[in-house]
Amino acid sequence: MGQIVIDPVARIEGHLKIEVTVDAGEVKDARVSGPMYRGFEQILVGRHPLDAQRLTTRVCGVCPAVHSVCSSLALDQAIGVADQIPDNGRIIRNLLLGANYLQSHILHFYILAALDYVDPAAVDVNSDDPAMQRLGEFLQRGELAPFTPRYEGDLRLDKKTNTAAVSHYLRALDMRRLTHEMLAVFGGKMPHEVACVPGGVCEVPTDDKVGAFISRLQDVRHFVDDCYIPDVVGVASTYSDYCEIGKGCGRYLSYGIFDMDVAETDLLKRPRYLPSGTLDGQLAEVDATAITEDLKYSFFEDEATHRHPSEGQTRPASEKEGAYSWAKAPRINGESYEVGPLARWLVAYHTGDDKVKSAVDGLLSALGAEPAALQSTIGRHAARALETKLIADAMADWALQLEPGAPVCAEYDLPEEGTGTGMVGGPRGALLHHIDIADGLIARYQLIVPTTWNVSPRDDEDQPGPIEQALIGTAVRDEDNPFELVRIARSFDPCLACAVHIVNAKDNEIGRYRIA
């Protein structure tokens, strides 16, 4: 039995550690954990309720818009204006969130994941592409950081496909910047846009802003059609064995994304552009009352285990026996669920959403693959790429629905008491913010973020989390270059800064280094 420890798993958001036990070339056991903890929930208690939205935006620098929107949804409810958000406010929130999806997905495939599949050092520097000629000069100098060192021995794209993908990697850097410019048009700045506020937004739409947004969107759409989708198909074709590994728990959760109307205050019943639901063999409505967080293997006091987040507590217990992660273990009726683009798309596909069905069927036929191939490492990349295209294609119409001069934000007086739960999908999956206001201040703030679902440790019944399950059973060809493990883990697009509960795996080590 051998042990493989990968820490840090770079090119994810935040700090992630993978530990697996390998026997006869196969992963027998896996533990994933994150060694970073900031304690947002503790920091928020006792503060001004509106500060929750500003501060939780900053939970994550890659997907701040969804935290901003989700916190605002929770505050909309607590304040009592959830059904009074003006159309301009609803639409601008969708544009902020949608542009953040484009940013996050393009960042994930090219900047985070691509270096597991493409080889910047093996491009055709004599191609007509000036970018490749400049890359050639860089390679000639012989200092290849940050593209080396790396795992070696399984980069398989043919030279032409590889050269195109590397060229698109460099172009993706510009496209990702453009998506943030789109966000800044209506969000003030990015990361950490400032326009989404409880009641709506504070940015006032004008026609020139609509034009500034749509013109950049057009460039991004071309990039998605011309580069992103073909590159994912190229990687999927060459690394087709990754359509068969990294399945995970096989249960999927989506809260839905993009409010099309706000009259319904039950967020999971709102008409959304992509629907909410759970898929566990069969499609079902999300039973939000059945969500609990288990703590048996987490560094939190056990007495609050298996509670709904509205009754949840965050009391660190860094010396707890048997614990190995500071992630809590969220479950629905005791079962683990995967969240993210793949979960959203499988739920939408089984709901019978036409636009999703035709996109998925088109991709499967291009790959010559069956629907089961989606439940895999490559399937996650494919769902993310299709989602990028779907959102990019939809947003121009949304922007054109804005009405300059019409209200952007509901007026309200902040109540002394109130409670609210925001639930919406972020780029990485289902996100929940819960706030209790008492005596005019935050009495409780709890988050269940997407990565907490995916990176969750074992639960009270000893069932591993989705990424752990995806790793267990995987054949590792070369233990010194464990490509399989990082490719599977990265396909989930883990965001450990979001998984705010997470701290360290080995409590005895914490004590050793403690200074304060």
Binding site: D7, E13, Y37, G61, L112, L170, G188, K189, H192, C409
Partner: protein
């Protein structure tokens, strides 16, 4: 193809208790574009070699940890950049070596800082503590300056705060060091911030300043007028946001109708909190309440009178 001889300036970018927002902000650089930063010279003859950056680098696991050791062991002068605070209660985020030994971020930062040309503390968390260090500071987060002081390390440290830091502030600081060497006392303010970026009060350059002077205040979001009543921290915040603007110069917070949060100031977000609460006039430099009219008015430097 001609081979260019460039001086390689290794950069190590560590992430502590941050959100990666400053890394993403760096990627937003419009001039220079980030692909050019990675591949080409930043200033004539000098290439910034991004050896270690958790979000960008190919390496994982012990390969990544070895980059840190190798950089430290090399003779080549390098720049150490910190994003996020140093969490003294949760230090084991430095990685694991090939031998299976866990590494403390406190030790990694300290050892690398000793040999660095300079430390650049990027973002509110690294520069001053920021949100993770906000009360009750559950992770025991410390700013770069605090850790350097505690460990008795005298490597110069430049603070480039902001939540996030503007890419121009980050790269502009690096360009300055590469062109002219380390900043002198005259280049930095009392908080170690480059005066080039943090020398002027937002309030003095705010396009809504005329509204403030005219006493025209917005009372809710989306309304025209000065955002002072909604908690704007522009009157106590020093940065060039109004003129530089964000994301290739497209917009900025007050331009989007949002009060300034004061994210470049030490003590953000605790000092001046609540973020939406109006700051008291006693806190405002160069602003007084006119006793006869009851209105706030601006007092030029050197003309301040007791309230």
């Amino acid at each position: 193809m001609t081979e260019k001889v460039l001086q390689e300036i290794p950069v190590v970018w560590l992430q502590g208790t941050g959100c990666s927002g400053c890394s993403v902000s760096l990627l937003n650089s419009a001039a220079p574009r980030i692909a050019n930063v990675l591949l080409e010279e930043l200033v004539p003859g000098k290439h910034v070699q991004v050896r270690f950056h958790p979000t960008i680098m190919a390496a994982s696991g012990h390969l990544a940890v070895e980059i840190l050791h190798d950089t430290q062991a090399d003779d080549q002068p390098y720049v150490l950049i910190l994003e996020g605070g140093i969490p003294e209660k949760i230090p084991n985020i430095g990685g694991v070596t090939a031998a299976g030994e866990e590494i403390s971020i406190v030790d990694t930062f300290t050892e690398l800082a000793k040999g660095a040309l300079c430390v650049v503390a990027v973002g509110a968390c690294a520069a001053f503590g920021g949100i993770p260090a906000a009360a009750p500071n559950p992770s025991g987060s410390r700013s770069a300056t605090e850790v350097l002081r505690q460990q008795g390390i005298d490597t110069p440290c430049v603070n480039v705060p902001g939540c996030p830091a503007h890419p121009d502030w980050i790269l502009g600081t690096l360009v300055n060091v590469l062109l002219r060497g380390l900043p002198t006392e005259d280049d930095l303010d009392d908080h170690g911030r480059p005066l080039a970026f943090f020398g002027e009060l937002i309030h003095d350059n705010c396009p809504r300043r005329a509204d403030f002077d005219a006493g025209k205040f917005a009372s809710h979001h989306g309304e025209e007028g000065c955002l002072y009543e909604l908690g704007c921290k522009g009157p106590v915040t020093y940065s060039d946001c109004p003129s530089r603007q964000w994301n290739s110069g497209i917009n900025w917070p007050i331009g989007a109708g949002s009060p300034c949060l004061g994210c470049v100031e030490p003590g953000f977000p605790d000092v001046g909190c609540a973020l939406y609460k109006k700051i008291e006039t006693d806190d405002l430099p160069r602003i007084e309440r006119d006793p006869s009219t009851g209105k706030l008015k601006y007092v030029a430097p050197g003309q301040a009178t007791a309230l």
